[in-house]
Symmetry: C2
Subunit: 406 residues, 2 copies
């Protein structure tokens, strides 16, 4: 696509273009940060309002049964599972990604009692690493990305990786890494926070053991939406959660004294979940209704490819380095650009109505969520980036920021 008109033409024949109407996007803003916080689906306010006024306000405590509150973690888990290649009753919506990481790392270490090493990569998302550091009887071993496959040996209890790197957007080959872990007798735990809803994931097909992910990025569940976890059916009955709360009990309303885990995935619940947060996530998941993840992937790659091509054409290559792999099978749905003045540049870009984000020390991230991002948005975003790059303003701001910090 060599002109803005080409982009408009691509949008005109894009089969996903009508999905943009499912979202309430602010006027005049190009939102390229759905990899951090998905925008508001149009359906959310009404669904939430009904949950507040009719379910909570009118039907009160009876709603746990009447409106199915009690089974929401499972019903939403199954809907979410359909987006990540998980058959029914293997995904449950609960707690935060961090809490779910704790549960599953603990479970993995219990299933491999002769081993204590959690293997991860240096650039993994901090909370994954922090949670592993908080586990007693576990030792976190970090490898470089390149060295990771070779670091999987028979000392490893569980390999914990984020499928799409939050900084670079690089994508792991889930199938081969999972196989390498299993070949070494280790378990695998995938963090799908940056892949669920962004690209096809095939948990069952890749024979994955465990997965977690958050609901507020590509799944559009709202700020801090409930997270999810996956446990392969074959492992569920041998998994115990250290967070043995009452909602995961076999018979929570018997109010017995002794803990007994519920059958299957439900045992991974802990306390009482926020019903309002679950309803908002329900609306977020509904934004994927009728959409094939393969179509999302096709458009995602086309958008990000266009962005990289235009960025290379329009931005000075000595100052702007694309750190995201160009090869399609090696990247997710975001593109990251390294730049010495990344913070100030992103601030200037946001002021110009293009919202991406900054990750310390020198990265700008741009997410391309195919449900609401247009090809013309990509064109316009690069246009504005080129204008700022030519301008001195952002350098000034950077100067002022440094002054303010010291």
């Amino acid at each position: 696509m060599d002109t803005r008109e080409d982009c408009l033409a691509a949008d005109a024949c894009d089969p996903l273009a009508p999905c943009r109407e499912r979202f309430s996007l602010p006027e005049g803003v190009i939102y390229l940060d759905g990899n951090s916080l998905g925008p508001l689906p149009r359906a959310t306010p009404a669904l939430l309002n009904r949950a507040v006024k009719e379910e909570w306000g009118r039907d009160l405590i009876g709603s746990w049964n009447k409106h199915g509150w009690i089974s929401l973690p499972e019903t939403l888990g199954d809907r979410l599972g359909a987006l990540i290649g998980a058959g029914p009753r293997q995904v449950i919506v609960t707690d935060s990604t961090s809490v779910n990481l704790y549960k599953l790392l603990h479970a993995a270490l219990t299933l491999r009692p002769q081993r204590r090493i959690v293997l991860s990569e240096e650039g993994n998302f901090p909370t994954d690493l922090y949670i592993a550091q908080g586990l007693e009887n576990a030792e976190l071993r970090l490898s470089s990305r390149a060295g990771l496959p070779a670091a999987i040996d028979e000392s490893i209890a569980v390999v914990m990786l984020t499928q799409v790197d939050y900084r670079t957007g690089a994508l792991w080959d889930m199938k081969s890494i999972t196989k390498a872990a299993h070949d070494a007798g280790a378990l695998i735990l995938w963090d799908l926070s940056h892949s669920a809803g962004a690209l096809p994931v095939d948990l069952d097909g890749c024979d994955v053991d465990f997965a977690v992910g958050c609901g507020y990025k590509y799944l559009n569940g709202g700020p801090g939406a409930p997270a999810f976890l996956y446990i392969a059916k074959r492992l569920q009955e041998s998994v115990r959660t250290p967070l043995s709360g009452w909602m995961g009990h076999a018979a929570p309303f018997d109010f017995g004294t002794a803990y007994a885990p519920a059958p299957g995935i439900r045992r991974m619940l802990c306390g009482t979940p926020s019903v309002l947060a679950l309803r908002a996530l329900e609306a977020g998941l509904a934004s994927f209704a009728g959409i094939d993840m393969a179509a999302i992937r096709r458009k995602s790659l086309a958008l990000s490819d266009l962005f990289m091509t235009l960025a290379e054409q329009r931005l000075p290559g000595d100052a702007f380095e694309i750190v995201t792999p160009r090869e399609e099978r090696r990247r997710g749905s975001q593109v990251s650009i390294r730049h010495g003045g990344a913070y100030a540049f992103m601030q200037a870009l946001i002021e110009d109505g293009v919202i991406g984000d900054f990750r310390s020390p020198d990265l700008m991230r741009f997410g391309f969520a195919p449900l609401y991002t247009r090809f013309v948005d990509v064109w316009d975003a690069v246009e504005r980036m080129a204008a700022i790059a030519e301008d001195e303003r952002w350098r000034q701001k950077r100067y002022h920021r440094r002054q303010a910090v010291t």
Copy 2:
């Protein structure tokens, strides 16, 4: 109060009567189950709608700073703290009660490394007991209620009690039990789920170490609202959480590899919290604006005393046994009645528009939340109970239910 008119007169001069307008209660329903799920505050829909449409929908990712999302756990924690006798920066709103119990029991055991026993009482709320059972290196010891003070000895790491018993409504003397724990070198952990917002609590004044509680009962934060935890200032810097997630990191947005706890209470955060759930809790807490907890306690005792007096007068004493202590200093804000056909009786009562609840095997619970419960509600509730007791209908239903179960 001997007549319905007396009750109406009491309502007319009740200083808390205007607070009822702060809630959206369904027509024709007497809601005596606020001890399980608080009703919808009138302010909630608008506050939530603003959070959804303006904060999330319009301002998107920028709201973490612009609308103070990032500090909501602390700002709401301080507001909640004011209701339970906790000075600033000792309460934080986060996760569920169950998850918070896990964090604090773990912390207590770490602070008492030579001891491993968690002492609790047989009738404690199940999730408290289940969480203690899930902790490695801990041993849960249960005592009868009567025997508990004597069971606190130097083998105990932490005494874990719910201040108001969820079944009987019995109230522990927080000050004396806390002192007994400290005298034995043990720590104390109070679960305030059935007391926060229901009666004055004086955590600081009683020299309490740890507390947890939920936001969806007397605090009216919505179904499954975020929970809270309290750590006395003097202990905060020596407490580590096993759930060392990124929101509790000293510098979460530096994205460093090594976990380092934030100073103070903020270290007890784990993952990203649901902002929508926090906003709903904010509205729930606002329903206490300008209200003195002592006034709440006075009315609570008057309501529950009236209920017990009328129940004794109007219900056959051989079939209905009040299990809640009559003595004011020994009860919270609910009254429980034992009855052989409690389940069917409560079903019949709910059909008649009086909502309480049932706890297996034979208890009916009635909560008296002074912000929205009127004296005439108590009169009318007992009136309907008396009518059902005289009627055979509920016995029939009970018969049918048993038939259905077998």
